[in-house]
Symmetry: C4
Subunit: 239 residues, 4 copies
């Protein structure tokens, strides 16, 4: 492997820099929303127009996450030698992120956390039922559970892709492990990580105290379609 930095076009260079800044900044949202402790959790973003993505280094404090410390990888998860941050090891979940980017071409961002309530559902291998309208808006139904899989081969990435392909939900609870979320870009995937913990917590407390009232399927459909198309400041609602 050469240690020389590859030469990108000025446009790709600018895209890389923009994604580095997004990914570095978005880690602070994980902290602000109480989704991570210590160095846990990771955000990545695809570089538009290139077979590349940017991800957090492994085991580094949240206080040290600057754009130039983010790590540029190809879609096999290999670090691009000679680029900023490439002297460090990327997140230990890099292979799972890479698998998702390779197999889901419309995904522009991936997030993984061990947020408390999402992990609690995952430890029971139980999907979160869709009983609140905010969940219908954001996920269009229940949050599904993915298979038990451990680091070492492609099984985590494969589990994410198999569970979320063709599913409305942008979040999957990997059994005994925790949530992975996807989005059109890194910010959208972070939003999904924030919202999946919010609904995991709310539905946990709701169900503890008695039976839940289901939402009729046609209301779930209606809320999901409106939210995806109308909510926010433009039709590209989730950005």
């Amino acid at each position: 492997m050469s240690n020389e930095a590859p030469v990108f076009s000025a446009e790709i260079d600018a895209s890389i820099q923009a994604v580095r800044e997004d990914v570095a900044r978005l880690h602070a949202e994980l902290v602000r929303n109480g989704l991570v402790v210590w160095t846990g959790g990771n955000v990545s973003g695809r570089v538009p127009g290139a077979d590349l993505f940017v991800i957090k280094p492994s085991g580094v404090s949240y206080d040290d996450l600057a754009p130039e410390n983010m790590i540029l990888c190809d879609l096999d998860g290999a670090v691009i030698a000679g680029t900023a941050g490439s002297e460090r090891a990327p997140s230990s979940d890099t292979a799972a992120h890479a698998y998702v980017y390779r197999h889901m071409p419309t995904v522009g961002g991936v997030v993984h956390t061990h947020s408390t309530f999402a992990v609690a559902w995952a430890a029971r291998g139980e999907e979160i039922p869709c009983v609140i309208t905010a969940m219908a808006d954001e996920f269009g139904g229940p949050i599904p559970v993915g298979p038990f899989a451990i680091i070492g081969d492609d099984s985590i990435g494969r589990g994410i892709v198999q569970t979320l392909s063709g599913h409305r939900s942008r979040a999957v609870l990997m059994q005994n492990h925790g949530p992975f979320t996807i989005g059109v870009d890194a910010k959208d995937a972070v939003k999904a990580a924030v919202m999946v913990e919010d609904v995991a917590r709310t539905v946990h407390y709701a169900r503890e105290a008695g039976p839940l009232i289901p939402i009729p399927q046609e209301a779930i459909d209606s809320l999901f379609h409106r939210y995806q198309n109308v909510y926010g400041q433009n039709s590209d609602a989730r950005r």
Copy 2:
């Protein structure tokens, strides 16, 4: 619809500006009190002396909520063209706020959140029993549940008005959705949103661990009347 700004009297102009500042600032209270995540939640305030109210734009980050970004609407929920912020879409809950202002003339503020414990009661369609004195003070009895209703027509606004008209409570838990609160002004409605989550959480934990002791009705009445009339620095206690 003309794009020209309407001409208001200097007095109304000053009122609009004051409400813009209140509404923008009060959104920070939602964050500070942990009632909202991401761009969720909305506060509105009626403009005294005019058939107008000010509300938050849709899907905009809490860090970007300045007075000039708030949106001025008439009581049908239509944006007043040509005024500050009118290039943006108002909160997707604007129709519900407008319905309340049209049908409850003494209401000067409306707040909606998806705060965790209030939504948990709403997902079971269960009213919160009045078992703590702070709840008797603030709400004068149980927090009622409103009907299941989804965005698209007047059904949310109608559900709020039907539930709260003639009720002591300034908060309603809309089934499967979450709390809406009203008040004499935006600040009073925000206080009700803070307090409804506080009592929803406290009564949730209380009841989890065993039977609750009811408060006699005459004590609830006495606490409610004292608090509405005596508490605080003047008789206009809840402002």
Copy 3:
């Protein structure tokens, strides 16, 4: 009632000023420890060497709590006219604080909050069993429950004094209402308010998940006596 400020000795004046500063500052500890929302909660401190105490004004935001806004009262709870802050109404719990100072001469500070878990035990009228060593250290046994009593006469103050007189605990859970704590000074009472919520929360979660292991009475006694006499930087351990 004269509106003229009384004349105190220079020594008492200095004590009043010191207690004003302590009481104002200590309210921030209630916020920092998550014990209060909005304008709830109140701290008072006795003025050493005088039949006076200092308490928070009623219904005022935590952001506005400066020493000169604190209110000086006599031991009947009457505001001392003409002194700083006396144009405002004192906390609506002033009568209860005054009753405690009149009847418990060694009490130098009183605190009242509606902190979540302490109120949850109070809504069931259930004392908190002493199953963790930190609770044995700080309170020497269970946290007792006081009678149901509402504002309007001396019944709250009487309930606090009857429950805590001769009891090791510096905290009482007033039924359906919430915790009142006492201490050698305002800071010590605030510490008790922080610790009672901490143990109320911990024992709540502990008991939810299965049977608790009791601590032998002789171990409780030993921990309590050591902590009161040895812990901290001097024998006056709880200051």
Copy 4:
């Protein structure tokens, strides 16, 4: 006991100063991660190359924890007279820390807190089962419970050492008391204190809502070995 400061080599002096800075700074992590209230909790760090460790003073506010206030002790827990901070009493848990340093030579840091969920498991005397992969990574299996022991002799230290010697876990839940954690240095022990509360909380919520799915032992083993050897920026993974 002489009051004269001992003379250390320049190298040891530099080590002492570095450990003072680490220990003082790391207390802020206990606060930031919500593990302590008031003056509770303590961190200590061994001085490399000397039979000495640095620990927090007893009962001092977290706002006052500067390096020069930390206290230097020998491995019997005696304060080294004449050194910075030696005019104060060390943490009341100093004897337990000293016992661990004397009997576990590879331990470089010890932390004790009363964090909510870890104490809740301790009050039931129940070990935390290993049902989430983050726990397999960090602790290699369940978090064990240590015996009931109170301050006054070596019984706390002995209980920690007996429970953790030869155990994968760096955390022990002392019955009715709370967690003690160890590490290669003070930072590593603080990380263990953060993670033990995180898993105690997550597994508490998980189990409240239904049966947990166990993780196969060979998967636990695989995760533990990978994490100890590969995770982070070097082989010295937990530093």
